[in-house]
């Protein structure tokens, strides 16, 4: 069966008519200020940048650029709210506010989903079914912890830290904001959050929601801008904790700037995860797992399964099935409910991905792309796989952050584990086999923070997430995620 190569036809018959999600109900202001001390305020230097829809290149809004003095105002507001209100409030009352944010997100889920898709380019199917519900789930989950912190760390004498500076990336804008804000607030800290430059809108909508639910002013502040704004936040002397999700290069510079200070930090950085498929795996489900691993959110996922290690005896069959499956992926208008693959987040990211496609071809990789028509406007990259890749190739070693999969084969489990671990990263991984004992053996040998068995890219607020090596430091999510926002009077080695 392994050299079976008859192919199916997918583009000659019945097709799905456009089914776009309506945008009528969505309100996006022409201009957004900085959310400081419970109010939207103009940036001190009066500068704004444009945010646009990467699928159409149409301008959506203008967003304030926060300078040093603005960041200072935000941190001061957060400090004041911490000293006077939030740290003194009974934990049970804090929880009520966090629950309210969660319910607010659920009530306005459709609006948030549509804006997330317009601003970031991801398919509405994903923002509707993954990003927004999970963001709400994180607030619900951490709201529940707020008055039970002593039980999470018995006898440790937990205390809040103070002001947390948080910087989130563009791939899951609202969800990453939720990952950061929810545990910080539950643990009694106040927050200054900087969303990513290309995707600030849902964070600003969250600011509106926070106003609506009556969170005390200054508890959550949102400052927008590019790298300089983030650097001002990281360098601010009155910030007690930095939480960053983004590239390894920026993570490294953050570590430099906070070295020698007492700031606590968590860094969630890049990845180059391997999906390992053994010959005894459920192949059809594994194909689906590969699709979810690398084409989910156009591969703009730090824990994406961007490498595939497949045991040689099933490699032909699996790759054939994967190519056939790629024929059925629908690329196009991210607001269409049937779209599987949306737009690349920005011109810069598309250029980066395209440069890696060239590198892969020069390295002798065999490229296959899903045969889809790319829209004339916007930034697009068809789902792409490279077969015949080798461990020494840059396509195998470097994070691309796009819908590009590098495929290698292996013979023994030991070889697979060696190859899987042989990158500077260690964020996630996947193992596919029908044999339970093999799952335990191989997953324990992988040096990665999250390892999935017979599935991929599954997230839950109760589960910790974070990396080894250059993939970062610290854990977010679950009870582990609390410790990143708490000081322990008695250190039990946590």
């Amino acid at each position: 069966m392994s050299d079976a190569h008859n192919t199916l036809k997918f583009d000659t018959g019945w097709q799905y008519a456009p089914a776009p999600e309506s945008t009528d109900h969505v309100r996006i202001d022409k201009k957004y200020g900085l959310f400081i001390n419970g109010k939207f305020t103009a940036p001190s230097q009066g500068k704004y940048f444009t945010t646009s829809n990467p699928a159409t290149q149409e301008r959506l809004s203008r967003i304030a650029i926060a300078g040093k003095s603005d960041v200072n105002r935000a941190v001061k507001a957060a400090r004041k709210a911490y000293e006077n209100v939030w740290s003194k409030m009974p934990a049970r009352e804090r929880a009520k506010y966090i629950f309210r944010i969660a319910r607010g997100l659920q009530e306005r889920a459709r609006e948030f989903s549509v804006i997330e898709t317009m601003d970031g380019g991801k398919p509405i199917r994903e923002s509707r079914d993954v990003d927004i519900p999970l963001a709400a789930a994180h607030f619900f989950y951490y709201a529940g912890w707020a008055d039970k912190l002593e039980y999470a760390f018995p006898g440790a004498g937990v205390k809040s830290l103070g002001v947390a500076g948080q910087i989130v990336p563009w791939n899951f804008p609202l969800l990453m904001a939720a990952w950061k804000i929810a545990p910080a607030l539950a643990c009694g800290n106040t927050v200054v959050l900087k969303p990513a430059e290309t995707t600030s809108l849902t964070a600003l909508k969250l600011a509106e929601l926070i106003q609506d639910i009556g969170l005390p002013p200054g508890v959550v502040n949102i400052v927008t801008g590019a790298g300089a704004t983030g650097a001002a936040l990281v360098d601010h002397p009155d910030v007690n904790k930095i939480a960053f999700t983004g590239s390894t290069a920026v993570g490294r510079s953050i570590m430099h700037s906070i070295a020698g200070t007492e700031k606590k930090y968590t860094l969630e950085l890049g990845g180059k995860a391997a999906n390992i498929i053994f010959a005894d795996a459920p192949v059809d489900q594994a194909v689906e797992g590969v699709v979810n691993a690398i084409f989910f959110n156009q591969g703009h996922v730090c824990c994406a399964g961007s490498r595939l290690l497949v045991q040689e005896s099933v490699a032909d069959e699996l790759i054939h099935k994967l190519k056939e499956r790629m024929h059925t992926l629908i690329l196009g208008n991210p607001l269409d409910k049937n779209t599987d693959i949306g737009a690349i987040n920005s011109r810069a990211q598309l250029d980066k991905i395209n440069s890696y496609l060239k590198i892969g071809k020069n390295e002798g990789g065999n490229m296959f792309q899903a045969p889809c028509t790319l829209p004339s406007k916007g930034y697009w990259c068809p789902p792409t796989i490279f077969t015949d890749m080798a461990q020494s190739n840059r396509l195998v070693q470097e994070e691309i952050f796009g819908p590009v999969l590098a495929i290698q084969t292996f013979r023994t489990a030991a070889e697979a584990v060696t190859k899987a671990n042989n990158t500077p990263y260690g964020l996630s991984g996947g193992v596919w086999t029908d044999k339970g004992s093999k799952i335990f053996k191989v997953t324990s040998a992988l040096k990665a923070g999250v390892v999935w068995a017979n599935t991929f890219n599954k997230f839950d607020p109760t589960s910790p997430f974070g990396g080894y090596k250059e993939s970062g430091i610290g854990r977010e999510g679950g009870a582990h995620g609390l410790s990143a926002y708490l000081a322990m009077e008695v250190n039990h080695g946590r």
Binding site: L8, Y16, A17
Partner: protein, 304 residues
């Protein structure tokens, strides 16, 4: 083409199935949003794929004749409708159905082989099959011996299917796995491989007499098995989910699954059927709504 198969496969080497992954894939098919023209096309395609079925102890010649009329005249208020693919009856009603459908291009399908349990001797099953074909059945829907299959007597089941296939002569053979009694998806896959290798023209989920009948999960496994056979040999085996598909919405989910698993060439009554009794009227109701924008009372559609 069935002659090329007829080799007992090694079912221990059939690739395993992960149920969680199957559920996820099915859920994803169900999120496809089918609207306007594509819905219209789908609804008509569904009608043309229906095996309009009556399999009751209380079936009468009159009831079968009326069902055949329904098969021909689905809803004459709506012009341009297709007919259903076949009328499916018990063997003793084959002659009546054959006569009623003469000249309309609608097949007569007969269940056989001691339907629905299959609890009889092979001779009787073969005799019943031959009789049904002699009476004019174009298609035979047989049941496998689930007892033997569950006991691991694969060769017995294989030989039985092959023998029935031979007894069918020119009639097409649909092999009912009765997935509700096989319970696990791994067994559904093995039974599908077995039936295809033994010569099935179609594989079919259920008799409709056992719950659960067709589900999208078992249908997906069977479609994937058909796909593997096609990849390996280029032969196209048909698929028939039966029982429990009574709404247009669900039927369209099945079509989405069919299209994304086996592609355009399977989107035909020659290779895909719905075994259903009440599905047709729900589809007609949707088509009527598309035509005049209103949902009509069920009493505007004939119940046969």
């Amino acid at each position: 083409m069935a002659q090329k198969r007829k080799r007992l496969p090694n079912l221990d080497r059939v690739n395993p199935v992960d149920e969680t992954g199957v559920n996820e894939r099915v859920a994803r098919f169900c999120t496809r949003s089918i609207k306007n023209d594509s819905k219209h096309t789908a609804l008509k395609l569904v009608l043309s794929m229906i095996d309009l079925t009556t399999l009751e102890g209380q079936d009468t010649p009159g009831k079968v004749k009326q069902l055949c009329q329904k098969a021909i005249h689905l809803h004459d208020n709506l012009p341009g409708l297709p007919t259903v693919a076949a009328v499916c009856v018990y063997p003793n009603m084959v002659g009546i159905a054959k006569q009623a459908l003469m000249g309309y291009g609608i097949n007569v399908a007969s269940v056989a082989t001691a339907f629905p349990s299959g609890m009889s001797s092979r001779d009787i099953k073969l005799e019943e099959t031959r009789n049904a074909v002699a009476d004019g059945a174009d298609e035979i829907d047989m049941v496998i011996s689930r007892g033997a299959f569950l006991a691991g007597e694969y060769a017995y089941v294989f030989d039985e299917i092959a023998a029935v296939k031979e007894a069918c002569g020119k009639a097409h053979l649909k092999v009912i796995l009765e997935t509700g009694e096989l319970v696990t998806l791994d067994r559904v896959k093995k039974a599908s491989v077995l039936a295809i290798q033994a010569g099935a023209d179609f594989i079919k989920t259920s008799t409709g007499k056992i719950q659960p009948a067709a589900t999208m999960q078992v249908t997906l496994i069977m479609l994937q098995t058909i796909r593997e056979h096609y990849y390996a040999t280029g032969e196209k085996v048909g698929m028939k989910p039966a029982g429990g598909i009574s709404t247009s919405k669900l039927a369209i989910h099945y079509l989405v699954m069919l299209r994304e698993t086996l592609g355009d060439e399977w989107m035909t009554p020659d290779l895909f059927r719905f075994g259903a009794s009440s599905l047709a009227n729900d589809v007609l109701m949707q088509l009527q709504r598309q035509a005049d924008g209103l949902y009509q009372s069920p009493d505007y559609f004939s119940k046969d």
